[in-house]
Assembly symmetry: C2
Homo-oligomer: 480 residues x 2
């Protein structure tokens, strides 16, 4: 039986970075993958394919700029989701190769098969070529999640499906019900609506993406509705079924009955409420690790489960379930396991990126959080339409908001909705991490024309509000 310092289960973002980090610390590491391909949901069914689909859709529909150039592009009539996603294969293959090279270069043993604990320090790996038993001092569980599939939803993979099956659809539905207003539900709702699909989104809470700053969420909901999406907020689906519509040539439709009594019909339904851990068959009972009813693991601030030598990271530990944060969780878990400093980076500065249409990103606190915590702030806002670059891009909707401490003028949060939001956020994030204040942006020179100029405009806007009139003073002043 081979002994390792560390065995990592799952090759998604959390597992990848954990294994490489351990290897770089000079540890003997193995990483186990039960699927036939590396990378988990990030590469194969989630992040990459959905972003590839988004790119393809924005490209083919002209990125919202048809209006700008007075030229409209027509999609092929019979385009399928599978067509649109196909170009992601090249990206996916590239990612596989990059990963495989990383494991090889760092002498990480890659073990193919299903892992199952047989004792607290022993894992049995059931591969197609037979079983093997390995032992380790530490374990990292980065086993990910799969879409939840409640039993009362009659999934058929053709008209009623989860996000996994959606990527393989052989047609583009005309109408779609999306159940769930989280990241996955809103991203797909926006992409489908951009393709001209009539979308109805049903979300149990009173807003989509509950973690967003309210002003950004309001703007996003406005944009979704402008794009033709019907939002049913504060509504729950009580029953989903396939029905034959009378006088409709025997055509089947999906019917969703809401608790409020409304009945909605559509050609298809994407079920995107929650994701489900996959812990049941890991033999966790042999180690004494508990999981919740959605098979997710609970960890402490060091990413340890209730059993100290077993760590968990990524989707399996729940929110935010983003590839970027999962990577960092995996890396930190390993740093903790091997008693290694992991930098002094503040996890309050994890960014959130939502690849909806438009893109949304945030770092730091929301207005609601600051108010609840009694931290006095002022907001500074820049609308893309005030910025030459926004005009050139034809993005009349985008906005950047920074939240500024009333006394210290330090940045407390940055919220962006619009083109390039996920990239732009990192300027504000760096300034927050390095303890800069709003005046930094006033004194900084930005390339012209860029969206980055929004930071300057927003800083002026916020500082103006804070200082009212500066006339006669020698302090930085408004340029707008």
């Amino acid at each position: 039986m081979k002994h390792y310092d560390c065995v990592v289960i799952g090759t998604g973002p959390a597992g990848q970075k954990a294994a490489i980090q351990a290897a770089k610390l000079g540890k003997r590491v193995a990483i186990v993958e039960k699927n036939e391909v590396l990378g988990g949901a990030q590469i194969n069914t989630g992040t990459i394919p959905s972003k590839a689909l988004r790119e393809a859709v924005l490209h083919l529909t002209g990125d919202g700029r048809s209006q700008l150039f007075g030229q409209s592009r027509h999609l092929k009539k019979n385009i399928t989701i599978a067509d649109l996603v196909s170009f992601s294969q090249r990206v996916i293959q590239n990612e596989w190769e990059v990963l495989r090279n990383q494991f090889d270069r760092n002498s990480v043993d890659l073990l193919w098969g299903k892992a199952r604990f047989v004792s607290p320090n022993e894992v049995l790996i059931e591969g197609t070529d037979g079983d093997s038993l390995v032992s380790a001092d530490y374990f990292l569980l980065g086993v990910g999640t799969r879409p939840a599939r409640p039993e009362n939803v009659p999934f058929n993979g053709k008209t009623i499906y989860t996000s996994d099956e959606m990527l393989h659809l052989d047609h583009l539905p005309k109408t779609m019900i999306v159940v769930g207003g989280g990241v996955i539900g809103t991203e797909y709702a926006c992409i489908m609506a951009t393709l001209g699909v009539q979308v109805t989104l049903v979300e149990g809470r009173d807003k989509v993406l509950g973690f967003l700053d309210q002003e950004i969420a309001d703007a996003f909901q406005y944009f979704m509705r402008q794009r033709g999406i019907t939002l049913r907020l504060g509504e729950r689906v009580s029953e989903i079924s396939e029905v034959e519509i009378p006088n409709n040539q025997g055509c089947m439709l999906v019917e969703a009955r809401l608790e409020s009594g409304k009945i909605i019909h559509a050609g298809s339904l994407l079920y995107a409420v929650g994701r489900q851990g996959v812990c049941r068959h890991l033999g966790l009972e042999k180690v004494g690790i508990e999981f919740d009813d959605r098979e997710r693991l609970k960890v402490n601030e060091h990413y340890q489960t209730n059993v100290g030598h077993v760590y968990a990271a990524g989707d399996v530990i729940g929110f935010p379930s983003l590839a970027s944060t999962s990577m960092e969780q995996g890396r930190r878990a390993i740093c903790h396991a091997f008693g290694c400093c992991d930098g002094d980076y503040n996890s309050a500065l994890f960014p959130y990126g939502i690849y909806a249409v438009p893109e949304i990103s945030m770092v730091g606190k929301t207005e609601e959080q600051l108010t609840a915590e009694g931290i006095p702030y002022e907001s500074g806002i820049a609308n893309y339409r005030e910025i030459a670059r926004g005009q050139l891009l034809g993005d009349a909707l985008g906005m950047l908001k920074m939240l500024i401490h009333q006394d210290t003028h330090k940045l407390l949060g940055v919220h962006v909705i619009g083109t390039g939001a996920t990239e732009l956020i990192h300027i504000g994030q760096a300034v927050m991490a390095l303890d800069g204040d709003a005046e930094f942006f006033v004194n900084n020179v930005f390339n012209f024309p860029t969206l980055a100029e929004c930071y300057k405009v927003a800083a002026y806007n916020g500082l103006n509000k804070l200082n009212n009139v500066y006339s006669g003073s020698c302090q930085p002043v408004t340029l707008s």
Copy 2:
């Protein structure tokens, strides 16, 4: 005669920000514009229209992504530059309005007419409605430049022209000679080549954009050649003429004779060598201000001319002649005039943005500068093709390079070539300004997938080279 604290001549970027800054300091300000529209070259003939043209071209040709999606778009056969630029009118009108509102809101007197000093503190403004005389304590000259038009070049505005006339061309030439490898020459050469025009670029020095880091310049020259541009570097044009080509149906071509003896023919020629100040008619002799043979003004570090109460900023003072820096120069000049602190921002951190295809941007020092100054550094490189976002964008050429001090690990410079370069640079700029080091990027979490991740990859790459092998250590380590 009305007396002002400050009179600003020219409503381009330098003048705009100077006037607003003075107004915000509570000063009485007038700004003078001799053209019929506000904004100078930035809004009307330079930055905005050329960027609008670039956007339109990238959009219509698919932004280099046709390849990615296996779909090619064909341009209208008879498309003209004027067509392509037309959409910029909306942007331009918007900018006029924004400017006009800013002047109004800040009580800046806008005086239309040609300004001419009649004494050191008096300016005569010759307007269409008659003349007026105003006096002021301080003056800021933001009069800009126009394309140089040497007498031995037979400009005709149709086949031989400067960048100003180019925007109004009523046809798209098949072949083009671009004389001058500065910002204007290379930007237009790339845009035309993207439209399928066969371009030959002639530059007297041995590389284009002499201020770029050599590695970036090399990459850029490679990309230009890949796009079909012929580079004639270290070559000078001795004669330009229109000639009738025998057996060519009486068709006229432009002929450029190079000093090396080569003769080049093309359907059109863009002359983009240098820009010319417009100081001759400002009555500067009444104040005792000198200008050089290209009618440009010399200023000290406070933007003062040789006469203390007259400042100058923007294109008229020469390099870098970018809208972004001109704005800051104007603002700082006024801050100095009125004895006002202007922040402690370091002008070594001015960014440079070149809107070629691909985009290029830099901040801080080049490798060549650091070597000349004896500052020990290591470079860290990230290629877009290693980054999921680069793969999704289909940008296989882009790269980000950071220069890291060998001892302190502080950032000394960031150089980006590729999609979004002008935006991305601001992350590195913020880290440099706030005294962060390369480790910042290692510990930072970036949204996935973004181009911003290049910073992390480049930081790992550079730190790896600096530290060779980290095995067994507890310091930040490579993930790649």
